[in-house]
Point group: C2
Chain length 431, copies 2
Amino acid sequence: MNLPHVVIIGGGFGGLTAARALRRLPVRVTLIDRANHHLFQPLLYQVATAMLMPGQIAAPIRQVLQRHRRAQVVLGDVTGVEAGRRQVIYHAGESGQQRLDYDYLIVATGVRHSYFGRGDFEPFAPGLKTLGDATHVRNRILSAFEAAERETDVAKRRALLTFVVVGGGPTGVELAGAIAELARVAMKEDFRRIDTRLTRILLVEAGPRILPSFSEDLAAAATGRLRAMGVDVACGSAVEEIDDGGVRVGGVAVAGRTVLWAAGVEGSPAAAWLGAPRDRAGRVQVRYDLSVPDRPEIFVIGDVAAFEQDGRQLPGVAQVALQMGRHAARVIEARLLNDAPPPPFSYRDTGNLAVVGRNYAVLERGRLRLSGYPAWAVWSMIHILFLALPNMRASVFLQWVWSYVTGQLGSRLIVEQKFSSSSGRSSRSGG
Amino acid sequence: MNLPHVVIIGGGFGGLTAARALRRLPVRVTLIDRANHHLFQPLLYQVATAMLMPGQIAAPIRQVLQRHRRAQVVLGDVTGVEAGRRQVIYHAGESGQQRLDYDYLIVATGVRHSYFGRGDFEPFAPGLKTLGDATHVRNRILSAFEAAERETDVAKRRALLTFVVVGGGPTGVELAGAIAELARVAMKEDFRRIDTRLTRILLVEAGPRILPSFSEDLAAAATGRLRAMGVDVACGSAVEEIDDGGVRVGGVAVAGRTVLWAAGVEGSPAAAWLGAPRDRAGRVQVRYDLSVPDRPEIFVIGDVAAFEQDGRQLPGVAQVALQMGRHAARVIEARLLNDAPPPPFSYRDTGNLAVVGRNYAVLERGRLRLSGYPAWAVWSMIHILFLALPNMRASVFLQWVWSYVTGQLGSRLIVEQKFSSSSGRSSRSGG
């Protein structure tokens, strides 16, 4: 077949939506990702806090694209793009370096944590982007309670029962709320020497308030709810130091053995591969049709794209990636069929949601503002509907109902994997 | 409280049953395990072959013993027993070496793989005992298909699509059957360059036939079923060599990139700690009441105990461990209450079951012999009923129904975890 070849880098919301949208066109599609699964990132914090199992929020990309006969899936780690030769360079396990020719390229590689120049924080303050990250954080959180139960020294025990979440965006708020639920509800009967209800959770935000993407009254409602759950919310102070003993915030040292990073992201190295103009966070500044300046055959979508609308950068949320994926496919379609190009990309805001513990969320859509139980019900419904496969939807729904009724968690495992050897080397998490 | 203290090492079937059976007695119980979860080992092969998620077959030990107020759970790695001082020595993360006094000790540490003196096989032929093992094997199997899809060299591709299972006991038979299902049913639509139905699966057994613990006609039925599923069953030849290119069996080299070990087990180091008499497989030879000679306060139960009945060693199955756990608790009860000791331990055989792929099992109980669908239905029911927590039962049941109807698997993830750092160090899988 000599159909035009569209290569998509990344099987997240943007890449997968683009692949699906290209389904009816006379093109071959190759989707390449480091991971074999599409990850439903909005629920990743629930894996990290032992509510859900990894398999409940991840769908094998091959399975999602099973019926799309002209789509290939490649498990590989992209290391560069040679735009002049229209080639993607990737590394694939023992096969080593490979090249893939393209006619159109869609870059949907997402973002990674940014420690704002303090990469030395990373080993002490893991972030949350991949399933590997989430199980690592889950191990850390659960192990801290185990160590506290064994510890006889009061100060050390206190440090083990102190959790610091850095960053007051939705991820930070959701993590802090979920740890509070874990400690106060799900595990309260399980230990004999410690009282998990005395767990201290500190949410640190450098800006003047949490949830800056929400209106002030909703942010205030979320702050009140977090405080009622026993979370200390500290705004206006940046974290100055992090080490294995804790953090220093606004000149004050806090002894805490588990520190989680939810403070910032930066574009993947994709931007550097393309030599395209980037913003300060390393995201690619795309044109009105999501293509890269002077490279009309290369599109950048999702979190790694910087796109300004009404004077504001579009946020790094699933909806933006979904709409961008559809738009890029539409632009390619118009070019292939010699149709008039679609109007410039314009994000249709579908609203903003964040969960604060159990049964409480904040929701903002246009002028509509909701907080509390109704927002949480909407949040639950939307998140279940957007899971990629029907068995995931059923499984997460039943898990939530079960946990709601019993107060028990879904997956409280501490599992450390072995190092992979020989043939396992080709697999990598992330992407 | 100065109640007598019973320490149980290991939270498997034996240890957990003993802990539960001691519930009504005036004793303190401490259960110590390297893992934070009880693992339902009979279904571990389903995690390794992507049918179930790890969380579906593992229950947090704390949660299982939540209402047993006099039971403590300690996450720790036992390194020795000082029987003279009645102390267990264990390592617990950063707390380092700890000691625990006991009045009664129940050793239920299980077994580990034995490579019969060929430890150099291990990196090339992983076995299946812990959740970490299972996700590692799952990564290996799924990655082999991914690498085959990328591979252009025909011979290399063939080797990537060749799986060798060493050992024809129930675990080996179940693994081989499950890989055949994976290749022939669940993934048959997912690849574009390879036909997964051409996957070669070789089951190697050194003895004259597979399933030696079953009667000959059932073993023959299972062999026939495996062959019908495309599994090559090779009996009477031992594996002579294993490396990253494949195996040598009976002088013949077989190129296969994925080799799995299900050939043998040996007792945990527990036997050596106790200085007790051991059999050739390193299991502790226990007395009629499951205690260790000259140490009436130490009991050894489950797979790590060697117990002969009617001239045969009891097999390493869950039912033996369960019955031994209850018996040890009964002996302790009689001693505490100064009652007459219970009659010597005697295993009541509840039967023997092995699954061969989908919808087919062999079952033997006394003179009853069943093969095919009815045996499989019994197997499914029993395995669901014995899961430790009700949510596991519901979840595995629904997963199986779903997979039965759709042919899809439950959890086809390739996830490599990060190395653990600092506070994660205390957690270990296994036990």
